[in-house]
Structure formats: structure tokens, C-alpha cells
């Protein structure tokens, strides 16, 4: 009793009361993000499964489509996406060090690279449109033997790269949110969890592309 003041432990402004400390809170967030990414693995896994089955059924037809894929754009896009993962990881690093300007710069760079990827994807889709490689009534194929089977591949091509592109668009939106939050001084070296979590998402989308690129563009090219 008496005049002694109660000394509270230094408050962590972003620490929720149900966590012991910010390390535990970060681990929970990380685990939660991984659970989400697991559902994404399953989601894309279904499409990769469909691809595997059809590739086994019609190997020649699927191999023949590789000649109509724009490998140059595909390869450049792979590089662009890897570079964007690199800038994303540097953004997280800047956040860890509390460097606000560097954080915003790397986030903006990541966003720009994401937009470059999507623009090149748009060019590719346009090519497919011009060449009548969009499955449906207007579909045309050089080799009449594979007319139907090649359409299956192009269905899968648009489903898989399309879903991937949608993930990229979502990622771009998340990056804009991060940039705004960073500009409003919401992050510090003590708390930057959203940067790290969205980083995980961005890298995951990168990994999906790392598998899509050889499967859709490269296999069967040598024949």
C-alpha cells in the first residue's frame, strides 16, 4: 500500500491480450497463414491433378501444343516473378530493420513487377485470341488429329494461368494496402506481421508459377 505506483510492463501496442508475447502472436499468425496456403496447395493441386491425368492420356497432343506457347514471354515472366519475390523478401527485411523508406520502395517495386507480369500475361492471352487457340467454337488447331485433345490443354492452360493471374491481382491489391499502411507509419521493427504474411502469399504464388512454366511451356518442345 502507500504511494508506490504500479509499474506495468511496457505495452506492445499491437499485442492482443490473449497472447503471452509478440513472439507467440507472430507464430500464431505464421501458422494461420500456412494453413491458408495449405488450402491453396489443395486448390491448385486439383488442377495439377487434372493436367497430369490428361497429359498421360494424350501425351502427343499435349506435347504438340508446346510449340504454340510463347516461351520467350513465359521465361521473361518467370524472371520477373522471381525478381518480385526477391524485392518482396527485401521489403520484409527492411520492415524488420524499421527502414520505412526502403520498405515502401521495395513494396512499390514488387507491385510494379507484379503489374509487368500481368501485362505480359495479357499480351500472351491476346496472342492466343488472335491465333484462335481459345477453346470453344472459334478454336482452330494446326494438326487436325489433335483438334479435340489440344483444346483440353488450352482449357487447362487458361484455367491454371488464369487462376494464377487472379492470385496475382489479389496480391497486387494486398501490396497497395501494405504501401498505404507503411506510409501511415503503421509498421515498426516491433510489428510488421502483415508485411511478412503477404510476403508468404506472394512467394507461394511464385512457386505455383515455377511449376506452371515448365509444365505448360517447356515439356514437349524438343520434339
Amino acid at each position: 500500500m502507500g504511494d508506490r505506483e504500479t509499474v506495468l510492463a511496457p505495452q506492445e501496442p499491437n499485442l492482443r491480450h490473449h497472447f503471452d508475447d509478440s513472439t507467440q502472436q507472430l507464430e500464431s499468425s505464421t501458422l494461420g497463414m500456412w494453413v491458408f496456403l495449405l488450402t491453396e496447395v489443395m486448390f491448385f493441386g486439383g488442377m495439377f491433378g487434372a493436367y497430369t491425368v490428361y497429359r498421360n492420356m494424350y501425351p502427343e497432343a499435349f506435347a504438340s501444343t508446346s510449340h504454340f506457347m510463347n516461351v520467350t514471354i513465359g521465361a521473361i515472366n518467370t524472371g520477373v516473378l522471381i525478381f518480385s519475390s526477391f524485392t518482396m523478401v527485401l521489403a520484409v527485411r527492411s520492415a524488420q530493420l524499421g527502414q520505412k523508406k526502403a520498405l515502401i520502395a521495395f513494396l512499390v517495386l514488387t507491385l510494379i513487377l507484379g503489374c509487368v507480369f500481368l501485362s505480359l500475361k495479357f499480351v500472351e492471352y491476346h496472342e492466343k485470341w488472335v491465333e484462335h487457340h481459345i477453346p470453344g467454337p472459334g478454336f482452330q488447331y494446326a494438326d487436325p488429329r489433335y483438334f479435340h485433345q489440344a483444346q483440353i490443354l488450352f482449357y487447362l492452360y487458361f484455367a491454371m494461368t488464369g487462376m494464377h493471374a487472379i492470385h496475382m491481382i489479389v496480391g497486387a491489391g494486398l501490396l497497395v494496402t501494405l504501401i498505404v499502411m507503411a506510409a501511415r507509419n503503421r509498421f515498426s521493427s516491433r510489428w510488421y506481421t502483415p508485411v511478412e504474411m503477404i510476403g508468404l502469399y506472394w512467394h507461394f504464388v511464385d512457386i505455383i508459377w515455377i511449376f506452371l512454366f515448365p509444365l505448360l511451356y517447356l515439356i514437349g518442345r524438343a520434339k
Binding site: L38, N56, V71, S85, I210, F213
Partner: protein
Amino acid sequence: MIHRVVSIKVYTAVFCSLLALTITTVAVSKIELGEYNFVVAMTIAVIKGTLVAMFFMDVRRASSMTKLFAGAGLFWLAILLVFLLSDYLSRGWLLNLRWLSGPGG
């Protein structure tokens, strides 16, 4: 909270390896290796994916729980693909039993 900041050198090394592997996979795809084109392309993709997961997503330093969940993702993906293929690749095998019963069997 203790930060475990990784030096830019490590990230740059990973980034350069990823680019080198991309160039390799494109170059190898032009060479006719038959069945092995697929094997090589997928091996390189797995290496690239592992590099991204381990270094960029920091799985190598993550908690055991996170590693378990990341591993569970791969495990369930394996269940999906293995069971799917055990069906599709084995279709028609049972028809061979007719040969055993001989003509008219």
C-alpha cells in the same frame, strides 16, 4: 521480440540461383531427351520451389509446427496425385485376366 535478419548476400545468392536454374530449364527443354525432358524440368522446378520456400518463405528457420504444416501440404498433394494416378494408370490392367481363362472363357 528477437529479429533474425538475414543478410542481403544470402537473398541475392538465392535470387541468382533461381535465375540460373530458369535459364537452365529453358536451355535443356530444347534438347531432345525423351522421357527425361519431363524429369529434368520437374527436378529443376522442385529445386526452385524448395529454394523459395526455404529462404524466401523462411521455412528453414520456422517453428516445428509451421514445418509440420508445410510438410502436410506436400503430403496431401502426394495423396491426391498418387491415388489419382493409381486409378488412371492402372485402368485396363484387369482386362488381361481374360487371357488366363483362354478362348471362350
